[in-house]
């Protein structure tokens, strides 16, 4: 057992976990943050993506202990209170989700994609960048639309800040 201290969605937490515990299980089983999902065993599907110190990481690929001292943001921490993150709003407005299972990971990856590419996003880039997130419902059509829409919204939000 080890004690892992980290910040999750702005709150400092300290959790005793078995050394083999993956970050995703710390989040889901110990902190009840069940918005982060497990969709595969091989780090392919991306349903478990969270942000660690501002960068998208598959939380099934990382031991909880490796996140010691890190600043973790999960899907539950993305909105500012009642105000949805532009990416969340764009997924809703563009019907970028159906069953919702891949959605948290998809949104967390998409935020990271926009942040890394800034205003330089086009459809081909978004499709290429989403390679690590699998969706079985939407055929990606509306997810791609949502990411491009959110890229615009995030630019506007950034300019306003």
């Amino acid at each position: 057992m080890s004690t892992v201290k980290l910040t999750v969605n702005g709150k400092a937490v300290s959790v005793d976990v078995e050394d083999r515990t993956l970050l995703v299980h710390l989040l889901r089983d110990h902190l009840n943050l069940t918005g982060t999902h497990v969709g595969c065993d091989t780090s392919q599907c991306g349903a478990c993506v969270v942000h660690i110190d501002g960068r998208a990481v598959k939380s099934c690929t990382m031991l909880a202990g490796q996140a010691d001292g890190a600043n973790v943001t999960t899907i539950e921490g993305l909105a500012k209170g009642d105000e949805l993150h532009p990416m969340q709003a764009a997924f809703r407005d563009n019907h970028g989700l159906q069953c919702g299972y891949c959605t948290p990971g998809m949104i967390m990856s998409a935020v990271d994609i926009v942040q890394r590419h800034g205003g330089q996003l086009d459809e081909a880039t978004v499709r290429h960048e989403l390679e690590g997130n699998i969706c079985r419902c939407t055929g990606y059509h509306n997810i791609v639309k949502a990411v491009l829409d959110a890229a615009g919204r995030m630019k506007v939000a950034q300019a306003a800040e």
């Binding site: 069940t34 982060t36 899907i75 159906q98 499709r127 055929g139």
Partner: protein, 780 residues
Amino acid sequence: MGVEGIGASVVRKEDKRFITGKGRYVDDVKLPGMTYAHFIRSPHAHAKVKGIDASAALKLPGVVAVLNGKQIVDDKVGNLICGWAITSKDGSPMKMGAWPAMAPETVRFVGQAVAVVIAESKNLARDAAEAVVVDYEELPAVANVTDAIKAGAPQLHPEAPGNQIYDWVIGDENAVNDAFSKAANVVKLDLTNNRLAPNPMEPRSAVADYNEAEEHFTLYTTSQNPHVARLVLSAFYNIAPEHKLRVIAPDVGGGFGSKIYIYPEEMVALWASKKTGRPVKWTGDRTEAFLTDAHGRDHVTHAEMAFDANNKITGLKVKTYANFGAYMSLFSSAVPTYLYATLLSGQYDIPAIHAEVIAVYTNTTPVDAYRGAGRPEASYLVERMMETAARQLNVDPAALRKTNFITQFPHQTPVIMAYDTGDFNASLDAAMKAIDYAGFAGRKAQAKAQGKLRGIGVSCYIEACGIAPSKAVGSLGAGVGLWESAEVRVNPVGTIEVLTGSHSHGQGHETAFAQLISERLGVPISQVSIVHGDTDKVQFGMGTYGSRSAAVGLTAILKAMEKVESKAKKIAAHQLEASEADIVIENGEFKVTGTDKSIALPMVALAAYTAHNLPDGMEPGLKESAFYDPSNFTFPAGAYICELEVDPATGKTSFVNFVAADDFGRLINPMIVEGQVHGGLAQGIGQALLEHAVYDANGQPITASFMDYTMPRADDLPSFKLSHTTTLCPGNPLGIKGCGEAGAIGASAAVINAITDAIGKNNLEMPATPDRVWRTIHAA
């Protein structure tokens, strides 16, 4: 149409919880004292279970129990069943081998469970499973139908000699033979329809909780049809009588058919909860999903089509071998028969059709209905055949289709289905216009100048949805009725709860169904809750599959609504001292037509529940229920055209354009409908280019993870251009046909027709990987 009524692209009410991480899926359920199950599964495709030694595992910390197949049989938990009886051409019933929830003696596919560990945590259960020793005696195995039907092949079930489940026929063989004897041209085609793994993103999961004092079970499960699960668990598996079993299917992360069935894992979880006196959770991992979720497709087919001198089709004969895997899954028998062979007429006027379907056991994962279920196989066959025929007859593929389209409705096909309405020319014309079919030759020439092979492929699909009149399916062997039920409750404050037997696992029912209420009453959808997925709340339901929720489930809601409206109008008329015939409903108000007198819905509702001043003899309350059984299947149809380029140096395919023109009848929420089509197209394209569940000759699965099985990714797919043509379905009052499976049914043939057009060779199996395409291009 109101702003939130029928036909409005309203954003989804359910989305907020999903985009904020507040969805509640089965694996999110935690109960006090909960234990965790881990299954011990066979690594062999076919073996005798000689013994199971759990003594070391039982000594490990946190292990509650290790239970095995002998115990579950001894406790008289029933074998898994197939609920649709099919009769062979010789009159004999289908031959079903026994399928216990865990194998007591013989395992017949890799991944079949032989025992289960119940422990205090997931990790402890996994650790203990490593310590359980199973002694297997390997038996010879067979993985494909071609080998399984050979003399001397390994035999799976004593009940099914020769591994044959049934040999079923449909149609008039003499009429077909007559057509072929007079044919001007005959076109022949051999096809394989590749096996798919369903892979909804949420793995299956079950949480079972037995309450000893009440002798009552609660099951949370990833189900598309919780009432059917309760019925089967109760009536056939002896888990508990229905009133002692509550089944809850909360948010479910995709199903596509694979979550229709009642699987061994939830049976074992329920049984183990009673045995251990503790709640039991099982959540599958992705490899377990590949090994145990019912697969789809896997047909080997030879077909021949006869044409007269005017290129009119005069006959079609088909022989299909369907791989059922190691056991007959719940609706497996119906898929290659009544969901496949009955659609072999496609969109065409074919006077004579005969089909023979031979269902075969192999040592592979069971196969059942998946995303289209039989109809993709039929559509792929018919549309590959039309393209092949056009090439052989040297006519334009679109023109050949138009020559043979059914244009008069209703149209009785020779294979049971009676198409009620449609306009196949309209959808093909719309698709041809959208892709500039006329300009293709010029584009092909341009591509050639750049060293690329460009192709165009058409696919005109039809499907039978709604699944469908109970009397009809009963006469064909179904073990259940396929109506739907609904209840509409207007609360005393005027808010509305709709309880539906349909189940939403991505389809957006919470929004689309509320739009009907908004349309009828003029209230905002925020005032309406759609309740589903809990057998303790909803009176009954047959669930969601076969694109049936809008055509059947929503019509049941409409029927209940009509009763509510009728009673509410009587109350309003009484309150307003007017005639019931003069009451109209507008914007949430009951108005006396031609006057300024009105009463708002909440006041009508309140009057219904205070019951101080109701018409004489009227019962208090404002809540009605209905069961709706459709009079026919529905027949969504459309035309898909794919334009693509093949790089002859690598065999790689790149999309240029993909257009879809669908006729779904009336659309409730076009945004949701288009989303359904996008997803289906991705599946159809995935089957054509990427996906294949592969076994080696000994029945070992080669593709049991996302590392090995190619799921379509965003960069494998194009953006789609969709359009709609509309003929309203006459079979239900809303005119709805259904949209959930169209893309998966129609897209594969368009892709393969386009690639084979590009490379100038007609024979190409799915998935058309770059390797396979390159070899086909360069084959002698």
